[in-house]
Amino acid sequence: MGDGAAVDGLIQLHDLRKSYGRGEKAVQALDGLSLSVPAGSLYGLLGPNGSGKTTSLRILCTLLAPDAGSVRVAGLDALAQPRAVRRLLGYVAQEVAIDKILTGRELLRLQGDLHHLEGGVRNRRIAELVELLGMGEWIDRRCGGYSGGMRRRLDLASALLHRPRVLVLDEPTVGLDIESRAAIWTVLRQLRDGGTTVLLSSHYLEEVDALADRLAIIERGRVIAEGVPADLKQALGGDRVTLRVREFSDAEEAARVQRLVQGCAGVRQVVVNQSQGYSLNLVVEHEGVVEQLRRQLAEAQLPVFALAQSRPSLDDVYLQATGRTLMDAELAVAGLRDPKEERKQSMR
């Protein structure tokens, strides 16, 4: 795990490094990130906010130059031949800028002209995408009045106008209603089935789990795990058990139960989850261990409020790779984000 740079990927990011700012305020956004995305796959980039997802995608889409490293798309060097690479890519950015005063159709026409589509081809393609993404009702209204979901669909359409070989999406469903999200998922699957390579970043585990053929987990500007979701889960081995002796326990009781449970044969990695009412997360080697566990708890006269067992999830893969859950990682950086600084980074 860790080294994602297989040689045959359609997209190959190799040893990317990038820092923002200078001196003491410098932030290392990418620290030797390598990634290889196979042609025709739907590839997920999973990581908490601030882990370097957006920076990698911006570098891939030629919006940002890395301090070091290389970017290849379909054999083309993106740093040396950015325009050739731009023709192959469609990019849906996270913070989407639209011209509020134009209608959706006018914006798509502009985009089509920037891709040098011939007028008739352009208009037919726009009609196709309006149909595909269900935009017919509002495409001739001004963008200023669009909801988040409408904007995102318009953006997806504008990234698809020139039939790119590679579609890159930065957190495409953040803040969307369930319906828009489902619509976007469907389109992404259709595109993949039609041969388009789709690379999306997300900090939603379930999104990557539901969509991606392959995924990379990014943490502090590096890839720390990479592979097929099912394989990654299977590689962890064992089942996950969440144990609560009471709905809300306390630290002292949790520690006592932890000691008891650790003594059971076939139990590994007992962790106290403070953020969930001092529940215990543990890994059991096989079915029978759970029965043994129940007996021991009963002997110790401990109640059982809940005892849930599941196969390893992507969250467990994340936990295993990073030592913390994705939610904790999100919480850790939640207060550290500086929107002003982020805007500056994206501004030319």
Binding site: C61, T62, L63, A74, G75, L76, D77, Q81, R83, A84, R86, R87, L89, Y91, A93, E95, V96, A97, I98, D99, I101, L102, E106, R109, L110, Q111, D113, L114, H115, H116, S158, R343, K344, S346, M347, R348
Partner: protein, 284 residues
């Protein structure tokens, strides 16, 4: 055929550059005009403001002392050339604002991920738009001035007026676009525009001739680009159409209309050369 470099093989043949550049420039310019059509307040304000100058200032100095102006010219007629130039100047000074907003809101990034044949198209579209808009505003002021009885330049004179305005608009647009990429945000850009606008008007020959000014202000006016645009236009309004006739008596010497235009052209070229590295860096 064999090739050592596989990535070169993957590149499709490029269509003609001119066709692609005009397609993208046209599309970007069209966007600016659609914006203008749906939000015409900029255009209207750009005509109203100089109009108010013309009417109020013209009235304020209608009784200007004899001998202040050359050859018994009325003040309104004198002021006309100044206000026409000021209109074109303020319009062009605002050229950077839409670009700055595109930078701030990230619309520029949307343009930059597209495979533009030349990123100069973005700048070119702004120049086209501002040029047309400034000229329309100036022509509106010229028409109003004519209705107020301040005259109208004859055929050749009109051509001289338009060429002069074009050169000034190019120069100021370059400056404003440069600022739009150099400054951190629209607040700063608006501040610079605000600070530059009126002092440049007062320190020019728009409102009074150099002979009326104290020596130091006369010097300032004589090196102010606005003056180099105002004087040829004033001469055209006076019906004097020789390019070689003296139109500006500066403290450092006498300048013909051709010399004034030369200064403006040099300024426009110089400013474009000056901001080019900046644009290349920001757009690459």
């Amino acid at each position: 055929m064999t090739s050592a470099n596989p990535s070169l093989q993957a590149l499709p043949a490029e269509p003609p550059a001119l066709a692609e550049i005009s397609q993208e420039t046209l599309a970007l310019t069209r966007r600016l005009f659609v914006q203008l059509q749906r939000r015409p307040s900029t255009l209207v304000a750009g005509v109203l403001q100089p109009l108010i100058w013309l009417v109020l200032f013209g009235a304020l100095f209608a009784k200007a002392p004899e001998g202040l102006l050359p050859e018994g010219m009325s003040y309104g007629r004198f002021l006309g050339a100044g206000v026409i130039v000021f209109t074109a100047f303020s319009g062009a000074l605002n050229a950077g604002l839409p670009v700055m907003f595109d930078r701030e809101f990230g619309f520029l990034n949307r343009l930059l991920v597209a495979p533009l044949r030349s990123r100069s198209s973005i700048v070119l579209a702004s120049v086209l738009y501002i040029t047309v808009m400034s000229l329309v505003q100036s022509l509106a002021i010229m028409a109003t001035a004519a209705l107020l009885g301040y005259g109208w330049p004859g055929g050749g004179g009109l051509l001289l007026v338009l060429v002069t305005l074009l050169l000034l608009v190019f120069a100021v647009t370059a400056l404003s676009l440069g600022l739009a990429f150099a400054l951190p945000g629209h607040i700063e850009l608006i501040a610079v525009i605000f600070v530059a606008n009126l002092p440049l008007l007062f320190a020019s020959t728009a409102l009074a001739p150099i002979s009326f000014m104290p020596a130091w202000l006369g010097w300032l006016a004589a090196i102010n680009p606005l003056t180099f645009a105002i004087e040829p236009i004033r001469a055209a309004y006076a019906g004097q159409l020789s390019l070689t006739a003296v139109v500006l008596e500066a403290p450092y010497g006498e300048l013909s209309a051709a010399a004034c235009l030369g200064v403006l052209a040099a300024l426009a070229v110089g400013l474009f050369l000056l901001i080019r590295p900046l644009l290349d860096r920001k757009l690459s």
